[in-house]
Symmetry: C2
Subunit: 458 residues, 2 copies
Amino acid sequence: MSQLQQALRSLEDTFGRRFNATSAMRESHGRDESWHEAALPDAVVFPESSAEVQRIVSVCAEYGVPIVPWGTGTGLEGAVCAVRGGVSVDLSEMNNIVAVHPEDLDAVVQPAVTHRALNQHLKTSGLFFPVDPGADASLGGMAATRASGTNAVRYGTMRENVLALEVVLADGRIIRTGTRAKKSSAGYDLTRLFVGSEGTLGIITELSLRLFGTPESIAVAVCPFETLEGAVETVIATIQSGIPVARIELLDELQIKSINDFSGLSLPEKNTLFLEFHGSENSTEEQALFVEALASECGGGDFQWRTKTEERQELWRARHNVAYACKKLRPGAELWATDVCVPISRLAECILETKKDLEKTSLLAPLVGHVGDGNFHLTILVKPEIASEVEEAKRLNQRLVERAIAMDGTCTGEHGVGLGKREYLLKEHGEGLSVMKTLKDALDPQGLMNPGKIFLES
Amino acid sequence: MSQLQQALRSLEDTFGRRFNATSAMRESHGRDESWHEAALPDAVVFPESSAEVQRIVSVCAEYGVPIVPWGTGTGLEGAVCAVRGGVSVDLSEMNNIVAVHPEDLDAVVQPAVTHRALNQHLKTSGLFFPVDPGADASLGGMAATRASGTNAVRYGTMRENVLALEVVLADGRIIRTGTRAKKSSAGYDLTRLFVGSEGTLGIITELSLRLFGTPESIAVAVCPFETLEGAVETVIATIQSGIPVARIELLDELQIKSINDFSGLSLPEKNTLFLEFHGSENSTEEQALFVEALASECGGGDFQWRTKTEERQELWRARHNVAYACKKLRPGAELWATDVCVPISRLAECILETKKDLEKTSLLAPLVGHVGDGNFHLTILVKPEIASEVEEAKRLNQRLVERAIAMDGTCTGEHGVGLGKREYLLKEHGEGLSVMKTLKDALDPQGLMNPGKIFLES
């Protein structure tokens, strides 16, 4: 019996019906929501506690079997693809909200709690958790990817909003990184090391998260622009003026068309900003008037307010569903989402040059972005079976990444490296990449934790 | 000739007059501003560039000689004491502001630029850098210590405000961590790993820092309280209400007395909050009225406004000089500053129990704190030659640290571990401490980078 078979038998003995090696289950755990090709695990295990995760990791370590953590499978860079087989650790049973401490503005959750589930739970508390990627991703997966979303421009990403983690390491030890104190100088920042490590250093089994008070007043507006440039210039001026805008999202004409179709809206098909302001009644009004004046100088129309809660929810739901709206634009296509992030002063140049590149291709690719952070996505709709299209997408993405890095930006603002960005890390980090590999080797000497991710294998 | 002598000769050959092994120079580089006993380096070298730092590190690595980076020597936990001798790398010649990018709200500086020098430089730009420890510390040292200060409650600490670093590693390689993008998911967060590493993983030779727009309106008030408890309860209620207070500092009666004496103020000798609000005229007024009402419910007097710029500066200068004010309270004494940070809901309990402990001792120890973060200091004035006093201080500090850790807080909010907090890290981090040691061993296998700091030597 092979090492792999021995490991699987041991896990099956322990987990019984929570161990599953059927093809259906393996297939459902071999890929995420992106274009990346499926790569199936040999089995899927559903632990219910940190101790059970520890048990899985220990068995896999003993037999040299790869371990791939699974949250909701909503990633966009293939981080859950089991490229070397092994065991998919599906954390969906670990979905309890362990504690909410309203008096300290923090919460403790298990990794499979999603950001919407947490916010639903917080609904009557007057508190909310701000990090909101489009998909209803698990908070463990969001920490692993260093995810962000529409509120990051004001409230930060998972980097800023994870206070502490519990992590099962490659050797089966469980550690807790950080405390519930808001700040600390007590040694190395292990929390930030595991945030963004994509399961390659350990499995996150619990998270302490920062919460925020629901603002007294929320104002939401839509603003269509004559030109894409005008919309981007408005964003740049807003950020440079220091207005604490809560959300400032750009959608190009095609993206607006797609969400009109998918979400049943009837927005003018123009390059458009969605804006949200938080504060007291007075301060949201002040902020909004200021930004409206900036927009008007850049060819923006009047702000169209969404005053009712339902109208606001409808708008943001449509925004969060852009991935699905894009898919509907071209049935049968897969999503290849680019994700560069650049210094805000370079954003217009980066977007406009990328649009020019896009025009020279045959590709369909709506643009949407968390532009207040300098982060935007082209959602390229590719049919993986058409090789020439994949090649075109690859070239477009590569030129975009190189442009962003040349602007002192990053190849990925929030989607993670996974499989898709590995080849760009050397250009972005230089010698720093080998330091990352040193850390990886130190914490996972057998190379079993989500192998093949972040680092190109030699 | 010993290895050490060979290293020193090589450095002297290279650096000439910027190599100095006189007793006076060694003595001036053997201790910081705290009670920790001096431990002299064998020589001090003054590099002028990253390449020169690289040269020093390479020579020391070749001969197995310890390396201790030096910024301004204003630390409080002995992080610059050369407990195993070796070379003090005084970075004071690397004090250029390399670039300010107002359009991106960031700046690039060499490590010896101090926070006041940077803000002086930014004075006419409408921008400022918020992290402001009491001493005019170097930004490199502040990053190394993960420092904070009075603005952290609103603007974050060095953790949030360092975008990227250039670091010379133990093997002499130079890396750059991060880009100028505001967020990234491109691999492990090396920036956050080096922030707070206290020179034990490498030497910071350049920093990219976030800047903020100077607020349109700044309102500063002083509010004396009938009781210490009332002052703390006001802070807790303010934070819990989500008011984005820019500064909220607590000074106890003795601390007020000390700054009246040292800085020539005439504040009532009561437990007092210093408050600052940032925003538009309307929003600072709204915030201030709200907090004033909270204070009044907790036995606070009316806010005494500091409306003129000079009055505000005088107040904050006095606050920043508390360490020197404390020293004047008891000439000849050294500073033993405690630095716990706890969840805000536990702050009153933590402070009041600590005050009770203090009353049972013979020690003089004013209290001051960045209480909005749950962080406060007792500045214990000890005469190191009086053994019983040092023992008392040690016991008081130990009880305080254990109390904070039991409250899920940290032994150090902003001063770092250095020599003074090493013994508490196991209790705070458990197995996490051994993970830190694994990282240390991976990046500094010879153990030459600021040895004896953070980790107790076995």
